[in-house]
């Protein structure tokens, strides 16, 4: 193969893979904005010709979806806060101290990954009913935080490890305590990474289906709502819900695209 051929082939492959990712989302968007009509339309259009203000209006007026979206936002925001509150200090401990028990702690963190959510969600339903946490966004956030805290801890640990200890020591020598040194030197440097980790915690909760479905009845998250109406509600409502689920994720990946490696490459082990 000549280099020109090779480049052509490479770009063909790249283009096909991009289309493979994007076209299905585009088609879902067509279905979501097409309203009631598009569900029964045959054959379906590949271009958004039937799109009108009416159909978009219908999309925005689907009531149950938006109520569920609000619950999802609440739960995800609380999950994010919990992940940061618990994950940042723990990550700092793992990154900066060698202490007895650090190994077992790491193991506990890694273990959470090997266990399906189902195994936690089942007994917690009972406990949450007793505690009044059942069917609340906070209850859902608590369970999602079980998944998000270990993740945030590992990501923060690798973030802090990437900040030379010397910088912190310089802060101490020039008048900082451990806490002010952390605030003035470590935190500003780790902030972009911490932001990425918190967005990730948000999306993790946003996307989770099983626990959210088991822990809510009336105040369903978006995922739980969509799962419960799978067999009964009209297709365009399902498509609309699917699209609302996807949009924040697409934005999220865009925001953190430069940090994906730090999070998945190192954050995983």
């Amino acid at each position: 193969m000549t280099p020109v051929w090779r480049r052509g082939l490479l770009w063909c492959g790249v283009a096909v893979l991009c289309a493979w990712t994007l076209v299905p989302i585009y088609l879902l968007a067509l279905g979501a904005f097409g309203g009631r009509e598009i569900v029964s339309q045959w054959p379906k259009p590949f271009l958004p010709l039937g799109l009108s203000l009416d159909t978009v209006g219908a999309f925005l007026a689907i009531d149950g979806v938006w109520r569920a979206t609000w619950v999802s936002v609440q739960a995800a925001a609380m999950c994010m806060v919990l992940a940061l509150l618990l994950g940042v200090p723990a990550g700092y401990a793992l990154a900066r101290f060698r202490f007895a028990g650090a190994g077992s702690y790491r193991l506990l963190i890694l273990m959470t990954r090997a266990f399906p959510v189902a195994i936690l969600a089942l007994p917690l339903t009972v406990s949450f009913i007793n505690l009044g946490l059942y069917d609340t966004p906070f209850g859902v956030a608590l369970l999602h935080a079980v998944l998000a805290v270990p993740f945030a801890t590992l990501v923060c640990a690798s973030l802090f490890q990437g900040i030379p200890a010397e910088l912190e020591e310089a802060a101490w020598v020039f008048g900082c305590s451990r806490f002010t040194g952390f605030l003035r030197v470590v935190l500003p440097l780790a902030l972009p990474g911490i932001a990425a980790a918190s967005i990730f915690a948000f999306v993790l909760s946003w996307n989770e289906v099983f626990a959210a479905s088991v822990l809510t009845v009336r105040h369903r998250t978006l995922t739980a709502y969509l799962l419960s109406v799978l067999s009964e509600s009209p297709l365009h409502v399902q498509f609309a819900g699917g699209l609302i689920l996807i949009v924040p994720s697409v934005l999220f990946i865009f925001l953190v695209r430069r940090r994906l490696f730090a999070m998945w490459g190192i954050g995983n082990r």
Partner: protein, 352 residues
């Protein structure tokens, strides 16, 4: 300004002992270099003085005050780190002002000090830049300026020049010496580079295996090493060591007969490469040449004497190089003989 007293400091990392009972006195305004190979404990000692590491035993006193239990920020010192540790999220000016800001200095003083430190190190035009926009040498200057801006009683430097290229290092060395001499700050300077230590310091403490082998001025350390290690570590080429038998209170070296300094069966004679002159077979010893390397103004000769490795530096102007295999005759400068115990390697006191 303050003196530093290090009183029987020990440090163990688990079972390994990094420092064995080190005691040391640094005078007010003195520039002391801690010199040694990597792993000798010099950086550990510096970090203990800074409070970045906790000693296993002993005390550190700064200006007569026991600071052993204090965190770094309460010890009244400044430090220049090996990798500079210039804060990447702050401008040069903010970096230099960092220590003053932490101390709660007022704006006017802060600005005055920053400008003074910056002009001292010739980085005035860079004050608004971020470290990422600076070269390694410029960052180094920022690190030093940051330390000087707080007018510390004690300045600690941890191999501050080791990350610069050779030419820059030479330039910074001269500048550091001038700047620090003007400030009169008590300085402890860790390095593994003997030329740095000799060029900068009032006194040098040579460390090896967690102990200080010798403290003294540059000339003392160079010409009168107290141990075989010091002689071998300081100087390039290192000191030559000849293991010689003692017979009847005398040591024979070729045609020379030297009075033995001890009654042991063997002694070690330490000779600097440049303390040897050409001689005749009667008043010198034989040196069989293996390699001759011209070094500009001098010639470095490597060969053997009494079957032992020997390096000699002789002035060299021009002309033919001596050939490998050639036998030369040399005699040592008798004022510069260093006798050492053959087993312990410790210098034997002759007529002082």
């Amino acid at each position: 300004m303050a003196n530093i007293t290090i009183d029987r400091i020990q440090k163990a990392f688990g079972a390994t002992r990094a420092l064995e009972e080190i005691s040391l006195e640094v005078h007010d305004g003195e520039f002391l270099a801690l010199l040694g190979p990597s792993g000798c404990g010099k950086t550990t000692l510096l970090r203990i003085i800074a409070g970045l590491e906790t000693q296993s035993g002993g005390r550190v006193l700064i200006g007569g005050r026991d600071v052993s239990a204090l965190p770094p920020r309460k010890r009244g010192l400044a430090m220049v780190f090996q990798n500079y540790a210039v804060f990447p999220h702050l401008t040069v000016a903010e970096n230099i002002a960092f220590g003053l800001r932490m101390a709660g200095a007022d704006k006017a003083r802060m600005q005055r000090q920053v400008e003074r430190a910056a002009s001292l190190l010739h980085i005035g035009p860079l004050l608004a830049r971020y470290p990422a926009q600076l070269s390694g040498g410029q960052r180094q200057r920022v690190a030093v300026a940051r330390a000087l801006a707080v007018e510390p009683a004690v300045l600690l430097m941890d191999e501050p020049l080791s990350n610069l290229d050779a030419l820059l290092r030479l330039e910074m060395r001269a500048e550091l010496k001038a700047v620090l001499a003007a400030s009169g700050t008590t300085t402890i300077y860790v390095t593994h580079d003997q030329t740095e230590a000799m060029g900068l310091a009032d006194r040098i403490a040579v460390m090896h295996g967690g102990v200080i082998e010798q403290i003294g001025g540059a000339s003392d350390i160079y010409h009168r090493p107290r141990t075989r290690f010091v002689g071998g570590f300081v100087g390039s080429p290192p000191m030559n060591f000849l293991r010689l038998p003692v017979r009847g209170g005398q040591v024979a070296l070729g045609g020379l007969t030297l009075p033995a300094p001890a009654t042991a069966a063997e002694v070690v004679l330490g000779l600097r490469a440049e303390d040897l002159q050409p001689a005749t077979p009667q008043d010198g010893f034989a040196f069989e040449l293996r390699v001759a390397e011209p070094l500009g103004s001098h010639l470095l000769l490597t060969g053997t004497t009494e079957g032992q490795l020997m390096r000699v530096v002789v002035p060299y102007a021009d002309g033919a190089l001596p050939q490998p295999g050639q036998v030369l005759h040399l005699r040592p400068n008798l004022d510069r003989l260093n006798w050492m115990d053959a087993t312990s390697g410790v210098a034997l006191e002759t007529r002082a």
